[in-house]
Chain length 381, copies 2
């Protein structure tokens, strides 16, 4: 096991009717900005619950943080926060709204262009405190310090580290109106979050392996119900908990991490606007094929424990395990080939170029370079 | 899934050589009391590492917090803290030293007798901050707010809730000198901590079930090595991590809890001084037998997933599962019958009397009364 430091101060408030407790979690006397996405909060009833919980408090609303939140939009929010003296942020929506809100929280006390903070985290100083009502299980942004911010002008998308939410309120009932495609992408996102922390080296921590496998097993078990039963409280609660636990540090103690699938996926989103979780479902099987030798023993363990794949040669087991993974993504209703998504060889060449330009060396062994990224993408063409 | 609030602010610093980072974790300018147990810190080198890390800091030492920490000892420490103006506590040792330290932290700012706080947690006001160097995996006190305190005069032992450590430093190397019996009791303690949060209702959270089973599976896998290989770093790291994760709230989200085994076990320790983890290994199989019907589907799930027990009738599977659990405790070198420990029918009668006196109604269904406790103990006579 590797040395590690674990700390996660977020207060997780989970369950039916919990939005009503919102007011108690925000200190008195704060000037609050409540951030929203495109308007689903108004149709699914969350807006009304939040407004009721904030009755009598001093808050303004900011609408329109899009998926893959754009720096162009966030700059506007930062301007308003500075003008209005906002000193608490409340994100209401999914991971994109919360990621955008984290950037706003970091930029309010910064004098330059907020995009600077995305490019160079060392510029982040004081961060305005924030909390959230999370309505879409996927990114685990509600219990980690990460944000991923896009730049429309430059077609770039980068991850950054900001801070943990003070609190996160998750009421699974808020997910009942989520469309099937978002459910599918969210499950793929969670599945690959786990894989980035699990599909590396064997034997570093038998416990963390079990916990990662536990999330994967649960996702595989509940996925058909998440898609078919729109308003099954327990199923959506299970799914939300899996998503939060998938990227809050709980399965990363003392183990190596990969993250190459995310780095490649971010490019597909930046260039083609493909939904984040969907890009991961496309890229990951290609990565497993190209890095089959390096990840051999972990693929075998994963295949046996999650898919019950045993017997036959190691190569056969690995092939069946990768096929089972692809079938799982197909079963979510996702296309898993670049050609099905209208992505061609020119994009692959562009991603290779970008990786080379920045001297990319991703993955647990630092060997996912531009050339390896190209081979991974060619595998899933 | 039940509604829940999860929050665990402890900073966990885990790995080789981490005691050296101690100084950075305690704010400057504090008057520190360092608390110790019976002297093993001097023989295993931990004392020297702590002293080096605290060089130049203003601290005093308090030695002699015993296993099942006694209020009689802790009163002395509280007196010294008040006299010396101590405003930070550092526990160096196992769960007993840390539990005792938590009580001291709560009592420094309290004017009455510290035992009052054990009997009535509502009397706890300001708590002096504390951290720890944990040298014995078992109680998870390093990442929870619990303490268990004993009273020599009244032969009582009660749990209480105090606060989370600011930080906990775990270097698995500090466990290399632990005697076999303490390793065995520590593993039994962790095993039953998990059971108290798992062996209740089926289907409340498939993910929490997997995570609980993950700890149990890991313990079963590593136990022979923990006993046989005194200084295998990775094995002891795995064991330490299991112990911490066994009772820090990570496997308790949205699920029912039991804790009847602990309530009965505490009485065996209070009356006979039997080591805590050992009492649990004795009591738990009896509880499974007596509450077999109530816990049937969870016992079957546990048997299948942890012990691979399938086939035959449900009753046969349950019997084999309980036997496998007992064999596991035997394999740790523990006696698992009261008669082997010199505990007789008079103790059973006394525990029944104590439970009745306080109107005991323990367990997830509140049905472990004095009479049920008696039947549980008679099963393991």
């Amino acid at each position: 096991m590797k040395n590690f430091v674990f700390r996660n101060p977020t207060k997780l408030i989970f369950g039916k009717g919990t939005i009503a407790s919102l007011g108690r979690e925000i200190p008195e006397g704060r000037k609050i900005m409540v951030t929203f996405g495109g308007g689903s909060a108004k149709t699914n009833g969350v807006y009304d619950q939040v407004a009721a919980a904030l009755a009598g408090r001093d808050y303004i609303e900011f609408w329109g943080i899009e998926s893959n939140p754009k720096i162009e939009t966030l700059r506007e929010a930062v301007k308003i926060c500075k003008r209005e003296g906002v000193d608490f942020l409340l994100s209401v929506g999914g991971g994109s709204v919360l990621d955008g809100t984290k950037l706003i929280a970091a930029a309010i006390r910064y004098d330059g262009d907020p995009w600077d903070l995305v490019l160079d985290g060392r510029l982040i100083g004081e961060i305005v405190p924030f909390g959230d009502v999370m309505t879409m299980p996927a990114t685990a942004s509600e219990m980690n310090l990460n944000a991923v911010i896009s730049n429309k002008a430059t077609k770039e998308k980068f991850g950054m580290r900001v801070d943990y939410p003070r609190f996160s309120i998750l009421d699974p009932q808020t997910t009942f109106t989520l469309p099937e495609y978002q459910r599918a992408c969210g499950m793929a996102d969670t599945f690959i979050h786990v894989m980035e922390q699990y599909m590396t080296v064997t034997g570093e921590s038998p416990l963390m392996d079990r916990w990662s496998e536990g999330i994967l097993q649960t996702l595989v078990e509940i996925a058909p119900k998440v898609l078919a039963e729109k308003d099954d409280y327990d199923v959506m609660a299970d799914y939300m908990l899996c998503a939060t636990m998938g990227l809050n540090g709980f399965i990363a103690m003392g183990v190596s991490e990969d993250w190459a699938t995310h780095k490649i996926g971010h490019e597909l989103t930046a260039i083609h606007g493909i939904t984040h979780g969907h890009t991961l479902a496309i890229v990951f099987p290609g990565l497993l094929r190209v890095l089959k030798e390096q990840k051999k023993s972990k693929i075998l363990q994963y295949g046996e424990r999650v898919w019950n794949i045993t017997g036959g040669s190691e190569d056969e087991c690995i092939d069946r395990t990768i096929a089972a993974t692809e079938n799982f993504f197909r079963s979510l209703g996702l296309k898993i080939r670049l050609s099905e998504m209208g992505v061609g060889a020119d994009t692959i060449a562009e991603i290779e170029r970008r990786f080379n330009e920045r001297g990319a060396a991703y993955g647990e062994n630092g060997n996912v370079t531009g050339e390896v990224a190209r081979r991974i993408l060619e595998e899933v063409m």
